[in-house]
């Protein structure tokens, strides 16, 4: 085999991206978990973690060490293969989604023509992973919680995809890089304010945001992870790093969801005033959305399970359909 220049560069680039994306996901999980403890402290008039490192910056390191040093227990009677496979099945799709998202004009894993479709295909796998984790735990309450997760995720996939379909109708492409390129310029070019395509675009953004919250099992829709009434959840039987991986996967899902929202609606790497586009704007917008996710979580109580499903089937799906129909009409007329 001839080892050519391009092959070497290709391999190096591939390695760098793989390592970089995993590191990005892990680093985000670590420091978003710190933000998750500092932000409610600001809202609740108290200090968050501040003993470990200045401003608590080494707290995630301490948490990681704690999780790593715990014994990995497998319940007797649990399905060992599925039990150990479930965390992997949850985190790998999240990282794979990051591979197709364009962080800036030059930074991006792979620029696939069907990038958007790839992202949503990957992100559907984590539901299976969670359900398997709950079922393989050999724990009554974990299985009930896992069944709830499936119902919740299915219910919220639909408005999410409807909104994206409406968007694709407008942008005429699945390629994420091109979608961002179409939003070049100042903030009135962004898709969220693309009112000539559909006057309900800001509403579509809100629907997307809500569905993204529900897909990552966050915020008012966190039936499975916060102290559910049964003080259990799909992850009860996981200890140590098994739980740690689910934890990282949750934050990775949030990062993926916020990145998608930025890319699809908020102009990706473009500056709101058209000046200096670049990676920094993407990161600013993505972290602003992550802060909004955390902000929403700590402001409201939790919905009931049927309230959650009602919201999706009775409110979000009709609104998404109205938006889709309106977009189609506007496309035809304008």
């Amino acid at each position: 085999m001839i080892i050519s220049h391009e092959l070497v560069i290709g391999v190096v680039r591939l390695t760098l991206y793989v390592v970089g994306l995993i590191a990005f996901a892990a680093f985000n999980a670590a420091y978003l978990s710190l933000l998750e403890r500092k932000a409610p402290a600001w809202f609740q008039l108290r200090y968050g973690p501040k003993e470990v490192g200045p401003f608590g910056l080494l707290q995630p390191v301490a948490d990681g060490i704690k999780l790593l040093t715990k014994q990995l227990l497998v319940q007797e009677g649990a399905d060992v293969l599925l039990f150990k496979l479930a965390p992997v099945m949850v985190i790998v799709p999240a990282i794979m989604c990051l591979a197709v998202i364009p962080f800036s004009e030059t930074i991006g894993g792979r620029n696939i023509n069907l990038g958007l479709l790839a992202t949503f295909s990957f992100s559907a796998i984590h539901v299976l992973g969670t359900m398997l984790g709950g079922w393989a735990s050999y724990n009554k309450y974990a299985s009930i919680a896992a069944a709830r997760v499936v119902a919740q995720n299915i219910a919220y996939e639909i408005p999410l995809l409807l909104v994206v379909v409406a968007l694709v109708m407008v942008t005429h492409t699945f390629n994420l890089h091109e979608i961002v390129a179409q939003q070049a310029g100042a903030f009135w070019h962004w898709n969220i304010l693309r009112l000539q395509a559909s006057p309900l675009m800001p509403l579509a953004f809100l629907i997307f945001f809500t569905c993204m919250l529900a897909e990552s099992n966050r915020a008012p829709f966190d039936m499975i992870e916060a102290e559910s009434e049964l003080v259990a959840g799909a992850f009860t039987e996981y200890s140590g790093m098994g739980f740690g991986i689910f934890f990282i996967a949750e934050y990775a899902n949030i990062v993926v969801g916020c990145s998608l929202a930025t890319v699809l609606f908020l102009g990706g790497w473009h500056c709101p005033f058209g000046l200096l586009p670049g990676l920094h704007w993407f990161l600013i917008k993505m972290y602003a959305l992550c802060f909004a996710v955390i902000w929403v979580r700590w402001s409201f109580p939790r919905t009931q399970f049927y309230g959650l499903l009602n919201l999706s089937w009775k409110f979000l799906i009709p609104l998404a359909f109205i938006h889709l129909a309106l977009t189609a009409v506007m496309l035809k007329l304008v």
């Binding site: 409610p40 008012p220 009434e229 003080v231 409201f300 939790r302 049927y306």
Partner: protein
């Protein structure tokens, strides 16, 4: 359709909402028989915190029992002491000087506000919203600081004595209380905007957990539970004691009987208590804080006396049977939370578990008060 096809085979399973649980405030065990997520039967099992206060009442002299009264319902401890002290005073025929009566009402109503603020925070935590707890605790902290400056303790006040109170209040306390009343009034609008009008909170509380007035009467539930079901029973108005007949206040009553009604009753009671405190501060007379000639070792005459006060949770009653010695023959403590809990079994049939927990939250239980 044949009979076999009509009767569906339903499997129920028993779940223990065990003594340790974030949603039961204290050591309460509820044996739930669940059909899926619907409750078929919820049987509360109490007694995990039984400390035999009533027996201690028979073995200690009247004065020595005073610290015990604060340990039963420690969130609203003043009322327990108030009930006990007033029962003994009625039996022994001791009249309390006016200033002491006013001080008692001021501190008791402040304690009611503190208890309700704690309840709002804890109820929201049960529902999943963590932030309002911190805000209500911030307000409650100020009340506890005021009361600590007067009594020396934050939760287990041992402040009232037979014939009055043990320490006098000073100008700092009066000024601090006035400032606090003004501050909390301005924050009530914020609480209503953050909690009461929140659509998620409303969805979880409106039409959830209906309790009819009939059930309340059957089980003897009192306090905000019965006032949220349309019955205007408040011991301060029905059997007035202390200086309440001289003060002008309303008793909030709501008809719907759901969780939202009980929540609104308590929020309105906070505002009414602030009014009472303001009026009492204005009319505070000067004078002695302790009745004269109260013997050190109290030996009330033989007799039987019952006295009930309106605690933050309902009607707290004390029955003393005295046989002329310095120790009671029998001391019976009627705890409001016990009667409030007893409606849970009947009311939670057929409810979803999450809704039943919201109902349990609005009953405002403090388990040490049930177990005594």
């Amino acid at each position: 359709m044949s009979i076999e096809a009509q009767t569906l085979h339903r499997e129920t399973f028993i779940l223990n909402l065990g003594p340790q649980h974030p949603a039961t405030h204290g050591v309460l065990r509820i044996k739930l028989t669940l059909d899926g997520e619907y409750i078929e039967n919820a049987e509360p099992v109490i007694g995990y915190g039984h400390r035999m206060h009533e027996k201690m009442g028979e073995n200690r002299t009247y004065a020595k029992f005073l610290p015990n009264t604060a340990r039963m319902d420690y969130v609203a401890a003043m009322f327990n002491t108030h009930g006990y002290v007033c029962a003994i005073e009625r039996l022994a025929g001791i009249t309390v000087p006016e200033r002491a009566d006013f001080i008692r009402v001021i501190t008791a109503e402040l304690n009611r506000v503190a208890s309700h603020l704690l309840w709002v925070g804890a109820f929201l935590i049960d529902l999943g919203g963590f932030t309002p707890l911190l805000y209500t605790f911030d307000d409650r902290e100020q009340i506890l600081d005021l009361l600590e400056a007067v009594t020396g303790a934050r939760l287990t006040f041992c402040y009232y004595r037979f014939g009055g109170v043990c320490n006098d209040i000073d100008d700092d306390f009066i000024a601090g209380t006035r400032k606090f009343v003004a501050r909390l009034r301005s924050r009530m609008a914020m609480y209503h905007a953050l909690i009461t009008k929140n659509v998620i909170f409303r969805r979880r509380c409106e039409n959830i957990g209906p309790i009819s007035a009939e059930i309340c009467r059957k089980y003897g539930a009192t306090g905000p539970v019965i006032r949220g079901s349309g019955v205007a029973y408040d011991v301060r108005k029905a059997e007035p004691y202390s200086i309440y007949p001289r003060l002008d206040f309303n008793v909030p009553v709501y008809d719907q009987g759901d969780c939202m009604a009980r929540y609104l009753v308590r929020m309105d009671e906070i505002v009414e208590s602030l009014r009472i405190v303001e009026q009492a501060l204005e009319r505070l007379p000067s004078g002695p804080i302790m009745a004269e000639k109260v013997p050190r070792i109290l030996k009330p005459p033989k007799g039987d006396c019952y006295f009930n006060v309106e605690s933050a949770r309902g009607s707290f009653g004390v029955r003393v049977i005295s046989d002329g010695t310095d120790k009671a023959y029998r001391l019976k403590l009627r705890s409001p939370c016990f009667s409030n809990l007893s409606i849970f079994q009947e009311c939670s049939r057929g409810m979803l578990l999450a809704d039943a927990l919201a109902l349990l939250g609005t009953l405002d239980l403090v388990i040490p008060d049930i177990d005594r």
